[in-house]
């Protein structure tokens, strides 16, 4: 809202001045006074007099009246008709589209000045003619913007939903489509008004617009040009008025567009440089395990408009060679943030504030970007959920695999291509030599994911992190990819972290599992144990929510709390049917109940023993 004030006030002031011109007691803008020709500032004329001795201030304000009314009238006429054309053309397509949108293209073929000349010749100059010319000129802009927006809106689910409700077409267009295309149309309106002011001035300057002696900014510039050397200030005033009006109009319409959109977030709070410099001051302890990756007490903080949040808090994970650790959790559990932080791929607003990630004797969290870059794609690699957006669409997949190889190995180009072909064969791409030369869009989702895996294993990584690699794929293709990853792990002995929200997938692929909820690990252990004897109420609830077998799935009431509203005590307590007052008092530790089995619940023992008794 704040963005609206200043430009809004300026525009309001300009419009107010123009509207009130007759009652401001200004001197007559057309009365000539040859004696005071080109006079400087004087009593009653603060900005001086022009080449006919007319008062400049008065002409400026009366001129605004002409310029603005022409500009607004033409922009609004063009806006209404053009938007209607665009709506009809975009919604009905076919003949409607030809009549409304395609016909506009003809107007675009005329140079604006030529069109103006033609109309003025036929109708004679004057404000009415100007409005007609300008509205015709701006019509195509509105029609095309609306048309494009309608085309994208008509395929949206919520438009189809209103159709399914049986709404008549008129209602759909006015109530559903129009408000959603209003943003770009408003911007177009601001541009049209601003450029109409300019064009009006230009045409008047050429003698095609407003007829002298009526005041207009264009005519003032035209008059001042002749006496530019004697009185340069005369040129300045109308130009300043023009610039100020246009700038204020554009800013106002930007603000309006944001204001009419309920999704615009609240104003953003700046975060301090100190926050970025703080991490890394804690002394590091030496790694003690043989794990490929050993994450200890990782806490990630993100500066957001609502203040700092900690989407990951005190997470400890370890993955050994030849082992698959599944990290499972719902959206908002922090599983992806953990992985991307370990890889050093988080944006700068997110930073690890506590903890370590030991990888081959080095703490990944304290490494500089060039060192991390040497590791990424080399000893540690990652496969993402969406292979389409992870592959570069303008290069062949072969070139991208070769690039990945050459980034970490000093091999010749032909050697790298040979390696790439072998990799494609390894990940089960038929006809690898030919497939190396295709572009990502020519491949199916499953094939693209195979390419991503080929790139990830190109430099024989010790650690492979897979972030929901099969979520976007069909089940039959998912099965292929899971089998492939399992084989690769067995063959190469790499450690694998597999992030997923599907418990079924965990059961198929992983040796151990870490269950995450609201930024914390709540339970960890071998898959067989955790799934057959879950200790944490959340794990149990999650397992009961899986639709398998004859029992109807049990939902967990409530939702995952957002990071800025994490409860103080157990974070699952508000949704847990076993929660007691003690659960909500203080943060709970992750209790190590035996080797490789941890749970974060103060009642786990009690709950399991009552169950055993019953």
């Amino acid at each position: 809202m704040k963005k609206l004030w200043i430009p809004g006030a300026i525009v309001a002031l300009i419009i107010l001045l123009a509207v009130l011109a007759p009652v401001l007691g200004l001197p007559d803008p057309v009365r000539q006074d040859i004696a005071n020709r080109l006079a400087g500032p004087m009593d009653g004329s603060p900005l001086g007099r022009d080449e006919f001795g007319r008062d400049v201030l008065s002409r400026l304000i009366w001129g605004a009246r002409t310029s603005l009314s022409v500009a607004f009238a033409s922009a609004i006429i063009a806006g209404i008709i053009g938007t209607a054309f665009g709506l009809i053309g975009g919604w009905f397509r076919g003949l409607g589209e030809i009549l409304t949108v395609r016909s506009m293209d003809i107007i675009l073929c005329f140079p604006p000045v030529l069109l103006a000349l033609l109309v003025v010749t036929l109708m004679g100059p004057g404000a009415g003619t100007l409005i007609l010319v300008l509205s015709v000129l701006y019509l195509p802009g509105f029609a095309r913007v609306t048309y494009a927006e309608v085309l994208s809106a008509r395929s949206l689910d919520y438009v189809e939903a209103v159709r399914a409700l049986g709404a008549p077409t008129g209602r759909i267009l006015l109530r559903t489509v129009l408000p959603n295309v209003a943003g770009p149309v408003l911007v177009q309106l601001s541009l049209a008004v601003a450029s109409a002011v300019v064009l009006e001035s230009g045409l008047s300057f050429l003698g095609l617009g407003v007829v002298p002696p009526a005041p207009s900014w264009g005519l003032m510039i035209r008059g001042a040009r002749a006496t530019m050397e004697q009185a340069p200030m005369l040129l300045l005033w109308p130009c300043v008025a023009l610039t100020l009006t246009i700038l204020a109009m554009n800013l106002l319409c930007d603000g309006l567009r944001d204001a009419v959109d309920p999704r615009t977030p609240a104003t953003r709070k700046r975060f301090r440089v100190v926050d970025r410099l703080l991490p890394g001051l804690l002394p590091a302890s030496a790694p003690r395990t043989d794990a490929v990756l050993d994450v200890r007490d990782l806490t990630v903080e993100i500066a957001t408009p609502r203040g700092a949040i900690r989407p990951v808090q005190g997470v400890s994970l370890a993955v050994h060679a030849g082992e698959t650790l599944a990290v499972v959790g719902e959206s908002g559990s922090g599983k992806s943030v953990t992985a991307t932080t370990v890889m050093g791929l988080m944006p700068p607003i997110a930073r690890p504030v506590e903890g370590h990630a030991w990888f081959g004797g080095r703490d990944l969290l304290s490494l500089k970007e060039p060192e991390l870059r040497a590791l990424r794609g080399g000893p540690m690699a990652m496969v993402f959920q969406d292979p389409m957006s992870s592959l570069n669409p303008v290069h062949t997949v072969g070139a991208q695999v070769v690039e990945a190889i050459q980034a970490h190995q000093k091999v010749s180009s032909s050697e790298a291509w040979a390696q790439a072909e072998a990799l494609f064969k390894r990940v089960g791409i038929a006809d690898p030599a030919k497939r190396l030369r295709v572009y990502p869009h020519e491949m199916s989702g499953g094939m693209r994911q195979r390419v991503m895996i080929a790139m990830a294993i190109a430099n024989r990584p010790k650690l492979l992190i897979c972030d929901e690699p099969t979520t976007a794929l069909d089940v039959t293709v998912q099965a292929q990819i899971l089998d492939l990853l399992n084989e690769l792990k067995r063959e190469t002995g790499m450690g694998m972290i597999f992030i997923t929200h599907s418990l079924g997938v965990v059961s198929e692929i992983a040796d151990r599992v870490a269950v995450m909820y609201a930024g914390q690990v709540v339970e960890q252990g071998s898959v067989a144990e955790v799934f057959s004897h879950p200790l944490h109420p959340y794990t149990r609830a999650l397992l009961a929510a899986v639709p398998e077998g004859d029992e109807p799935p049990q939902g967990i009431p409530g939702i995952v709390p957002p990071p800025h509203a994490f409860p103080v005590g157990c974070r699952f307590a508000p949704r847990c049917k076993f929660a007691t007052a003690a659960c909500t008092e203080a943060p709970l530790p992750l209790e190590e109940i035996r080797a490789d089995r941890q749970v974060r619940c103060i009642r786990w023992h009690e709950l399991t023993s009552t169950e055993a008794a019953a």
């Binding site: 089940v475 293709v477 099965a479 292929q480 799935p553």
Partner: protein, 324 residues
Amino acid sequence: MNAPLIEAVGLSKTFPGKGLFRKGKPVQAVKHIDATVARGEAVGVVGESGSGKSTLGRMMLGLIPLTEGSVRFDGAPMEKASATEWRRLRRRMQIVFQDPYGSLDPRRRVGDQIADGMKIHGLFNAAQREQRVAELLNKVGLDPTHAQRFPHEFSGGQRQRIGIARALSTGPEFLVADEPVSALDVSIQAQVIQLLGELRRDLGLAMLFISHDLPVVANLCDRVIVMYLGRVMEEGPAKHIFAHPVHPYTRALLSATPMLDPEKRSKRILLQGDPPSPSNPPSGCVFRTRCAHARDACAQAIPELRPFGDGTARVACIRAEEIS
């Protein structure tokens, strides 16, 4: 079994091909499909992307025109309905979408969106409508005060509930649910499945439940239709088909579905490659290019969907007896 509420016979849909310089090949999204849903019955449609399951659902609602075939709703053919009759029909059938983010108008309060259907059909006065919006929100497990909020203030699961409330606002008899839970988290997914099950029981809704998730369908639906490349591979009682799949595609699909319980896992039948393009389907049986049991005969003729075994299920495979 009740008389069918909605009855589709011989539905086909062909989308014209797209191309920049020459016309592309037309895409056969759905080919000769029969489907019926009785009052209070839930029919699942399963298949992978490109199987035509969403197209089938939209055709049964009359949201996209049919290339071939006919749909009868409550005994009357829908394609013969006049504009006024259509408006009345619209009240009686509704849809719930997959994407909880795209299916609500971001610029309007959810209460207004739920009231839309009632307003369009001139049901109730303003005060009654408000009352009913509150009831509907309550029914789907949301707070009535939420009517004043905008969609972006809700989580995915909550938005899905709002979408369901909107669909229920006109008191429909037939509901198409197009992958209503696949964009949701497991715990939320179960909530929505529970809700749909309750609504079906309480309101006697007929439901066409489109999904790629077999366990969900097995749990919620009475009958199931398995689709591949626009054709029905197998259909019958859901529990029966999941326990004893006959068609090689149904078996492969079941074996590929990740199961929690290692004992429930059947031996993985790995399908090779990806489904062929619907614009260029194989001759004969459309599944034969990925089928381990395919013979030359499979390429000759399109297998007929025929009763199998005790006749409760129907299957489109010429080798069904041999391989089962």
